[in-house]
Subunit: 215 residues, 2 copies
DNA sequence: TGTACATCAGTGAACGCGCGTTCACTGATGTAC
DNA sequence: TGTACATCAGTGAACGCGCGTTCACTGATGTAC
């Protein structure tokens, strides 16, 4: 609870909107989507629950704004990461690693963004932008001749679902005896984006260890 | 609300335990994990909320039993599906298809089983059994010489996360312009389980359609 | 320069709801004597 | 064969909690005249 809060000056009431979203972001990352309630936000910001209504019509609108924020941040994170490289194949691999890293650093935020609890029947522009980064990465590999893919969209889709499944399971099931992280990332990028010159040696390990610890 | 319920005969009180689990299963598939509450279960069974306590110490115990049920059902579904085939590669492909089909038919149950809301730090035997089906399928492919994999466990892991990501996203994001289902399944099985004789032609489609509709 | 008034950024009390959990109780059924 | 009693399968009222949302209000600040 932020007790030090002082009333915004006249004409600056819109500042509260940002404070509400910041609080909602913190709550989402701390306790997941279920923790993002009107009253919890009000407590965090240091205002009355009623004060939220001039800025958001209901709690769903806040969560929707939160999700767009998360996708936008993902897009920026991916763009920043891939722009440290110039080689198309390296850019793709770096992008895949950055994707999983984002979900690892902000697991609850990622989970909220991709959550199934809210309405997904309407496409979300912010999510499309993030996905387009991956499509472009694969398209660039095709054009550079380092991917044998014939369909950047389909291969981006399968790469994306694999990265998504890996990211969510790795963060939520720590008891599972996960194989080497870099090797797993390479397997996804090399196989599904159909890179024709894998730069990491394939994994060669005996299969019978720790299986009974699978979560 | 089941009004026709009659009190169990003396000595058959344990029957209520099964009724509670059945009601919990129905609630989970209808409204997800959040819908599985003590009072909702009691309403569905036609009993008082208090009557649950002799059978389960709290609501978490019910959900935990529910999750084990779901994994057991997944294991049975996978086993039944693969036993319709004898060829190792066909068994693997059939298993992958059955996995996604299970998640498609029971999306909320699947989501509850793999949910991140409960404690995953302790491995779950029921989940391990389901995963072992996949490991065995790949191991059999290796031994039959139809997979170039050198590590059944690692390749089962990457195949599993891809199937999981695909299954959850496909059911929860209907607005996304999904590529052909069978082609996507084959891409996952062929690439990640490293089958050396793909039996389905690779997809060859232009990449620029419907991308702006991505969800 | 003074004052009435509108506006703005919020507050505060209250509502009905569903939740998990507790405690004391009930009423039918079987069993010991 | 009759009856007192234990057991079993539940019931019913109540608790405190956090929730979203409503309604009427407040008090500082700027502005028109």
């Amino acid at each position: 609870v932020n007790v030090e809060r002082t009333r915004n000056p006249r004409g600056q009431g819109a500042r509260l909107r940002e404070d509400i979203l910041t609080a909602a972001r913190a709550l989402a990352e701390e306790g997941g989507e279920r923790a993002v309630t009107l009253r919890a936000i009000a407590r965090t910001v240091g205002i009355t629950p009623t004060s939220i209504y001039p800025h958001f019509s209901n709690v769903k609108a806040i969560i929707s704004a939160l999700i767009d924020d998360a996708f936008d941040e993902l897009t920026v994170t991916l763009s920043d990461a891939i722009n440290t490289e110039t080689d198309p194949a390296r850019r793709l691999r770096t992008g895949c690693a950055a994707y999983v890293e984002f979900a690892t650093q902000l697991p609850r935020t990622y989970e909220t963004a991709f959550g199934q609890e809210h309405d997904n029947t309407i496409p979300r522009t912010s999510a499309t932008r993030a996905f387009m980064v991956l499509v472009t990465l694969i398209q660039d590999c095709i054009e550079a001749g380092v991917s044998t893919s014939h369909d950047a969209f389909a291969d981006a889709t399968v790469t994306w679902v694999a990265l998504h499944g890996y990211a969510t399971m790795r963060t939520s099931r720590p008891a599972f005896p996960w194989p080497d992280h870099q090797a797993t990332l390479d397997r996804i990028a090399n196989s599904l984006a159909q890179l024709n010159k894998p730069q990491t040696a394939p994994t060669c390990r005996t299969p019978d260890r720790g299986i009974q610890d699978a979560g």
